[in-house]
Amino acid sequence: MLVLARKINQSIMIGDNVEIVIVDVQGDQVKVGIQAPKEIKIFRKEIYDEIQRENILAASASEKALEKIEELLPKKKDREK
């Protein structure tokens, strides 16, 4: 991994179009500004991790659990009204 030291208001370019600016540093928190074309997706890494965790939880679903749910659902007649 490339590691660069930066001060407040200094930036890093990734490719020609993406600029990462260090906006502020307070204690252990760093504020980062990102200038990038609209089509570049920018998300906190935690979101990927959360979705991955949720997918793994979802993979343990069973037919038995679905049978239990059948009884909990609003009655079909009601839903179709």
Partner: protein, 160 residues
């Protein structure tokens, strides 16, 4: 073709119904081929069965089943990656988590599977709408939806 499935053992499927989830689901890379199976239980759920890994299957639901005003909001780059021009052309599918108390089951609207129905190409995307969370309580939201529908009908009756 006959395939092995997690919920129902060996079943016959139509090859034309196989969908490709590009890059696989988060946490399940490399597993791209899936098929939807009708659930044998009553309700709005489907199974999403992996063809590459017979032991891997998910319960899924269309978000519209518990959120009438659901509107997909994802990056245009993602939408174009499945061959579409607008999120309105896509079909969203939410993965369901069923905890030990099934009343608490949730659907994930933060990471929907987004499908191009014509080409059968899909991708798991990240929602740009912060109202769509990783856990939506399906039963609670269904009840709310049901009440709204009833109110709507009542209003129509009054109009008449």
């Amino acid at each position: 073709m006959r395939i092995k499935t997690k919920p129902y053992g060996e079943v016959e499927i139509n090859e034309a119904n196989i969908i490709k989830i590009v890059d696989g689901l988060f946490g399940f890379p490399g597993l791209e081929n899936y098929v939807f199976l009708e659930s044998k239980t009553e309700g709005p759920f489907l199974w999403l069965q992996s063809l590459d890994e017979p032991g891997l299957a998910f319960v899924v639901i269309r978000p519209e089943e518990f959120k009438a005003d659901y509107k997909l909001s994802v990056a245009l780059e993602d939408i174009k990656s499945i061959g579409l021009e607008s999120p309105d052309e896509a079909v969203s599918i939410a993965l369901v988590v069923i905890p030990p108390d099934p009343k608490q089951m949730t659907a994930n609207l933060q990471g929907p599977i987004v499908l191009n129905v014509q080409s059968k190409i899909a991708r798991q995307m990240i929602s740009l709408n912060p109202e769509y969370k990783i856990k939506h309580h399906i039963l609670d939201e269904m009840k709310v939806l049901l009440e709204k529908t009833k109110e709507g009908m009542h209003k129509e009756e009054v109009k008449d």
